[in-house]
């Protein structure tokens, strides 16, 4: 219906009528329920975080830690008691997960452990991972992913690996290769080896990214926000065909990705040579024709697939 509406085949009124016929109606109760739960839990957790951030001097350290730990235990216990699959149960589990981080922050605040911020995010992420596996809640997974990314970002900034692109690329590529080999070693004994193998390809694709990313940082001299925004999209383009078990898609997306990398590299070299504008433009046109060839190949492949 939406596709027809977008193409102008049916009117707005007709779309709503048909949606109602198909059983859709604005479910205001459910909408309000989710909204109030998310907003209420969000505000409450923010309040708790700010409360401990204020670092009340008169409050004894054991009381602070006890309150947060009590919150963690209370949230988790209530979540199990209330049914972890219910909306409130999942919200409580997320609340408990956030309070784990608050606990580490308060602990660091009291005992001045001297740990870096990325270390706190590392332990927080790793501790929440089993919760996410058990909780089966997308909100909890989102929290884990956000924390993991924050950990990675803080680590990269603090440790300055982005400045040493060669080392970083080598480390990242080696880590991925080790993961690939480990998965190969353990995966052979699994019954769902086919699916397991899909993930292996991911570890082959990831080093390409890190190499490309660190090279870009080295080339541009600073983090380019446009490219930073493209990284997750490109990652999705490489990972999704693997998850969908689409080997042709994987190969084509890798092909297009390499083309883009080569084109970017050639352009950079052209820029460095300092040629006159006309030669520059011509060389730019030649180098940029590489991704166009890749894209056209994808298009023809899709057409062939569609026709088949």
């Amino acid at each position: 219906m939406d596709a027809l509406y977008q193409r102008g085949a049916i009117s707005h009124a007709r779309r709503l009528e048909d949606l109602a016929l198909a059983g859709w109606q604005p479910r205001w109760h459910r909408w309000l329920d989710v909204l109030l739960l998310v907003a209420g839990a969000g505000l409450l957790l923010s309040g708790i975080i700010f409360f401990f951030a204020w670092n009340w001097a008169d409050m004894h350290r054991f009381l602070k830690l006890g309150l947060v730990l009590g919150g963690v235990i209370g949230c988790t216990g209530l979540s199990v008691f209330m049914d972890m699959d219910s909306r409130a149960g999942r919200a409580l589990l997320v609340g408990g997960g956030v309070l784990v981080g608050v606990f580490f922050a308060v602990f660091g605040q009291i005992y001045q452990t001297g740990a870096d911020a990325w270390e706190m995010f590392r332990i927080w992420t790793l501790l929440l991972l089993p919760w996410a596996l058990v909780g089966r809640s997308s909100a909890l997974w989102l929290l884990v992913i956000l924390l993991g990314n924050t950990w990675a970002m803080l680590w990269l900034v603090k440790e300055g690996y982005l400045m040493y692109r060669d080392w970083f690329s080598v480390v990242a590529a080696s880590a991925c290769l080790v993961c690939y080999l480990l998965m190969d070693f353990f995966g052979r004994h699994r019954t769902d080896y086919g699916r397991w193998r899909g993930w292996q390809y991911l570890f082959l694709a990831l080093p390409l990214f890190w190499i490309c990313w660190s090279s870009w940082v080295a080339v541009s001299g600073q983090t380019d926000w446009l490219f930073a925004a493209l990284v997750p999209l490109l990652a999705g383009c490489l990972v999704t065909p693997v998850l969908r078990r689409d080997p042709a898609g994987m190969a084509l997306c890798l092909f297009a990705f390499w083309n883009l990398c080569i084109a970017a590299g050639v352009l950079y070299m052209v820029k460095q040579m300092g040629l006159d504008p006309i030669s520059n433009s011509l060389l730019g046109m030649i180098s940029l024709s590489i991704p166009v060839i890749g894209i056209i190949r994808i298009k023809s492949f899709v057409q062939e697939k569609g026709e088949a």
Binding site: G8, A9, P26, L32, F51, A53, W54, C253, F257, L260
Partner: protein, 317 residues
């Protein structure tokens, strides 16, 4: 009763293939094609500046040519061609305005008027939704940048945004070409508040947001036949939110509108603005951290309490 897709299309007098070609390719192919198209746009369009003479007339004419080319290019739903056309149209629009700046200058309202005039012409000419969306944002952005230091420019932008949204989604909703304008204004209204850091309570913008929220709720009530008491309570909540944090009230009204019409995009935009402006509201609140934290906890508990009351009432009903 359930009907098949074929029966559904037959009832509407549509051919069997209607709507079938909406998205035949996986998104990762489309994304790669889109990125490649922008690279290709760089290839085709960047040499223009190398070979063009310095004459502004020529630049303007080439820009107009690109716009006309984008207008006549048929839209077949191909990502590569579509993105290439979009890039050409945007460049053409920029070139025309650069030429006009040379001719008329940028003093007074010259630049915003030029951009608005050419923007309106391009909006009508080029039938591409995303291009129209970007054009609308560009026009509003130009007015904001040029007149940001003039009093009441923010409430004026909010009022224009409200009017455009109500026109696109209530009054002339069958005129699809207004949709991109409506979406752009859903970003531009609160976006202007955000960019100018104008988030104080009880300002002219607050009243504009409150009027927009009330109008939205009342129009929906009339159309959907909602009961008066819950509608009045909802309107009261949106008004209170608008007066305290105008962007949050505006966003809440957008979210309600989006949900009522199963418009996920509008709903998402609205729900995006609410936490942004609520966070900002707390950030700028002139109290200590302890007081703010207690207020946050109180507000959270209040909302959870309201949720519990509503659930109980529903169970008893």
């Amino acid at each position: 009763m359930s009907i098949s897709r074929k029966q559904y299309l037959h009832e509407h007098g549509l051919s069997d293939g209607a709507g079938a070609d909406t998205s035949p390719i996986p998104w990762y192919y489309a994304a790669m094609q889109g990125i490649g198209a922008w690279f290709a746009a760089g290839m085709f369009l960047s040499p223009i500046f190398t070979f063009l003479p310095d004459s502004m007339l020529v630049i303007g004419l080439v820009g107009a040519g690109l716009l006309i080319g984008a207008a006549v290019m048929p839209e077949k739903g191909e990502v590569f061609l579509s993105q290439l056309t979009l890039a050409a149209a945007l460049l053409g629009f920029a070139m025309v305005n650069v030429a006009l700046v040379e001719a008329t200058g940028v003093e007074g309202a010259a630049l915003p008027l030029n951009v608005t005039g050419t923007g309106a012409a391009a909006y009508v000419l080029v039938r591409r939704r995303f291009f129209r969306f970007l054009l609308s944002l560009a026009v509003m952005g130009t007015w904001l940048v040029r007149f940001h230091d003039v009093a009441h420019v923010i409430p004026a932008i909010m009022a224009v945004a409200s009017t455009c949204i109500l026109a696109a989604f209530f009054v002339w909703r069958e005129r699809r070409f207004l949709r991109p304008l409506g979406y752009a204004m859903a970003f531009a209204g609160p976006g202007a508040l955000f960019m100018m850091k104008s988030t104080a309570s009880l300002t002219a913008s607050s009243w504009v947001a409150a009027v927009f929220g009330l109008a939205t709720v009342l129009l929906l009530m009339r159309e959907h036949g909602w009961r008066r008491t819950p509608t009045a309570l909802g309107a009261l909540c949106i008004t209170a939110l608008s007066l305290a944090a105008p962007g949050a009230g505006f966003g809440a009204a957008l979210a309600v509108l989006g949900h009522a019409y199963a418009n996920r995009l509008l709903e998402g935009v609205g729900l995006l603005w609410v936490p942004v402006f609520v966070s900002w509201f707390y950030y700028w609140l002139g109290y200590g951290l302890l007081t703010k934290s207690l207020m946050l906890m109180g507000a959270g508990l209040l909302l959870l309490g309201v949720r519990q009351v509503l659930r109980r009432r529903r169970v008893h009903a």
